[in-house]
């Protein structure tokens, strides 16, 4: 069996843990519980007749007071930077996080996930501006942890890239 480590990063409250819960357990809860440290889940994905076990490291939200431990990213086959399109600041924070990660791991594929698409888009970034930021990533995927929209697709795409 092939195992791949995937790290979820992003500002606090963007829905990283909810994405994992939706993907692993198929559950969504409105209740907000902040992640402390790191929480690890696993799920097997079938890609072109190969079973890939994704070990998903859900790393605590990053904010201006609390950075992330770069050691957690060691050996990761992919990063997922999650932002929330109802919060403009989360995009900038997500880009900062990517840059921090890139300092030590410049070649690891990074997925840009714009979450909470079930809610109305409330940031003032134009599509062009967002597209510019998207260039720094391997792929951009818009998801909703609540409805499950594109969540399975996201992890399938990651599994495919890591092989």
């Amino acid at each position: 069996m092939i195992q791949k480590k995937v790290c979820l990063l992003g500002p606090t409250g963007v829905g990283k843990t909810s994405l994992v819960r939706q993907f692993v357990d198929g559950i969504f809860s409105d209740k907000y519980l902040t992640t402390i440290g790191v929480k690890i889940d696993k799920k097997q994905v079938l890609v072109e007749d190969k079973t890939v076990q994704l070990l998903i490291w859900d790393i605590e939200g990053v904010d201006r007071y609390c950075g992330f431990n770069p050691r957690y990213l060691r050996g990761a086959s992919a990063f997922i930077i999650v932002v929330d399109h109802t919060r403009s600041q989360s995009l900038l924070e997500g880009i900062d996080i990517l840059q921090s990660a890139r300092q030590e791991f410049p070649d690891t594929p990074a997925f840009f996930v714009i979450n909470k698409t079930d809610l109305n888009c409330e940031w003032y970034w134009s599509e062009d501006e967002v597209s510019e930021y998207e260039n720094a990533f391997t792929e951009t995927i818009r998801t909703s942890a609540k409805t499950g929209d594109n969540v399975e697709f996201l992890f399938q795409a990651i599994a495919k890239v890591t092989l």
């Binding site: 195992q3 791949k4 890939v52």
Partner: protein
């Protein structure tokens, strides 16, 4: 054919001549060309060629190793400062780990020695160590350690993914994937939170302890070995884990360096990991101990049960003794039983009887072993009635009571005291069955009493005496016992006297003979029985000399009296009616 062969030979010679003209006779031209491109050509195939040759006969290593050693030696000599600078952190870390492992082992052995040095067991162990020909410290270690390695994980250090695992009981093995990742995450956290400023010098977890088990963590360059252990782990087991980790690195160096998430190359490490699943339980000794403790408990239990049985037997004998003994008058034993290590004696006791404790003491029974539950009751036993009368008489100094053969009261007494005495005598329980002869008592009158008053007084006295007498019957019987006939004689004697007095007073005299029964049987039957009892008494009175005139019988059926035995009886009521006046003197 010959022409053809000649032709070929001629062509070959012509080709040689042309080749010589083009590249020269000593192939200098080709050599020059090859030499010009040698670097590029060799660099294209050098790795593959070395690999192929090494695989074929291993000669590459034989050639290269001396060359590399020689080069290294020269390099160390020439650049010793640089090499020391590079190796220092690595060597320092290795030395630290080696010293730490030695210290842990030393401290644990020392602790064990201290704990076991000053006891009988230590002397025994020293003797056994001497017999076995090993050091005391080693023997102590083998005796005190009791442990089991339940599961072993080998984890890729960088990614935290599980490379392989082995469990002593696969059905109880934990989810190794998540445990591996979390352990690496914890290691990262510890390194980040508590690590030194030097990013190259990692601070690694060495051990995680819980109440149930210990996780021993051995960190290598590419892989981490984790053992889940219960019990106290001897130092040599830690050393064994370290050796297994080093072996793993040696055997799987290439797959570890090329690891891309595929765990298949590490499947063959099963046997290596299973070597770690060691345990030391000292079961035989434990069993012996358990047997020893069990035997002691069994002996204690048998002893305790034996004591209980003996004690119970003793109580049973005492209880049997009480049951067989005849209770004194005024004590009626209701029940005897054994409860909570004592004989419980339930009884009815008349106030006038001897105490239950005195009775038991007379029987030679230890009163402390008996719990007495006593309830009061009135006994109609003659001896107790006699005792009550005797007690009453003792209050009157001028009266004297003789109990044998029949109770006779004698002495002189004033009228006032005599009346009081008779009132008190009437309320003595059971007095109806106690025929007290009072004819020898001389009553001293204080004043002259005219004839009529004297007669009336006598009549009242006789009526009171008759009222105090009652005739008792057995259950469901209307026949008269000898005691009943005796009572009837007393009644007849007094009533005949009363008839004489009533004649003198010209008063009417009636005797109501009232029959009563107890509650057993039907109400109709009891009404008939009570009537029959009244009739029987009437007939007996007539036979004893009483005139039939004025005798009235009435059976009033069942009556609930406080003393149930007393309800099977006939009682009497005398009515003396003055002829000229409507006043009646009734008793």
């Amino acid at each position: 054919m010959e022409t053809s062969a000649y032709q070929k030979d001629s062509d070959a010679r012509a080709m040689d001549a042309v080749r010589t003209l083009i590249i020269g006779g000593d192939e200098k031209q080709i050599e020059n060309v090859v030499r010009r491109n040698a670097k590029g050509l060799v660099s294209e195939v050098v790795s593959e060629a070395l690999n192929d040759r090494e695989t074929r006969d291993g000669s590459v290593n034989r050639v290269l190793v001396p060359l590399v050693e020689k080069s290294l030696h020269r390099s160390v000599e020439a650049n010793s400062d640089k090499i020391v600078g590079v190796l220092y952190p690595l060597v320092g870390s290795l030395i630290r780990k080696a010293v730490a492992a030695f210290l842990v082992e030393f401290v644990e052995r020392t602790n064990a020695l201290i704990e076991n040095s000053f006891s009988f067991r230590s002397i025994k162990w020293r003797f056994e160590a001497w017999r076995a020909g090993i050091s005391y410290a080693d023997y102590v270690a083998t005796k005190i350690y009791q442990y089991q390695i339940h599961q072993v994980f080998i984890i890729h250090r960088e990614t935290g993914t599980l490379l392989n695992s082995a469990a002593s009981d696969p059905s109880r093995s934990k989810d190794g994937d998540l445990i591996s990742s979390m352990l690496v995450a914890m290691n990262d956290f510890v390194a980040d939170a508590f690590g030194s400023a030097n990013p190259e010098a990692d601070t690694d977890l060495d051990e995680i302890r819980t109440d149930d088990f210990t996780l021993i963590i051995k960190v290598g360059p590419q892989a981490i070995l984790v053992a889940a252990v219960t019990g106290s782990i001897p130092p040599d087991v830690r050393g064994k884990l370290q050796v297994v980790l080093e072996d793993f690195h040696r055997y799987y160096q290439t797959p570890l360096l090329e690891y891309d998430g595929n765990t298949e190359p590490f499947l063959a490490s099963d046997s290596l990991l299973h070597d770690c699943l060691v345990s030391a339980r000292r079961e035989p000794e434990q069993k012996k101990k358990r047997f020893g403790v069990g035997a002691i408990l069994l002996i204690c239990a048998i002893g305790f049960l034996g004591y209980l049985s003996f004690f119970r037997l003793q109580l049973s004998l005492l209880m049997s003794e009480i049951q067989q003994a005849s209770a004194p008058a005024g004590i009626a034993v209701l029940d005897t039983r054994i409860d909570k290590g004592k004989i419980v004696l339930s009884l009815l006791k008349d106030e006038a009887s001897v105490s239950a404790s005195d009775w038991l003491t007379d029987l030679g029974i230890d009163v402390d072993k008996v719990q007495i539950n006593s309830q009061p009751y009135l006994s109609l036993d003659k001896s107790l009635i006699a005792a009550r009368v005797s007690k009453l008489v003792s209050n009157y100094a001028s009266l004297n009571l003789q109990q044998t053969p029949e109770p006779v009261l004698s002495g002189s007494i004033t009228t006032q005291d005599w009346n009081r005495f008779r009132r008190e005598l009437r309320v003595v329980p059971g007095i109806g069955n106690y025929p007290l002869d009072t004819t020898n008592v001389s009553v001293i009158t204080d004043q002259a009493i005219d004839q009529e008053k004297a007669l009336t007084y006598s009549a009242n006295t006789l009526m009171a005496e008759i009222a105090a007498l009652s005739v008792h019957f057995k259950t469901n019987e209307a026949s008269l016992s000898s005691a009943a006939l005796s009572t009837i004689e007393h009644i007849a004697e007094r009533y005949v006297t009363l008839q004489n007095i009533s004649d003198k007073l010209s008063a009417g005299l009636d005797l109501f003979i009232i029959g009563v029964s107890d509650n057993s049987g039907s109400a109709v039957k009891n009404a008939q029985l009570s009537q029959a009892r009244a009739q029987a008494v009437k007939r007996a009175l007539i036979e004893a000399g009483v005139e039939e005139k004025g005798l009235h019988t009435r059976g009033i059926g069942q009556m609930q009296l406080s003393q149930e035995d007393a309800s099977r009886m006939v009682f009497l009521h005398v009515l003396l009616t003055q002829s000229d006046e409507s006043k009646g003197i009734a008793r």
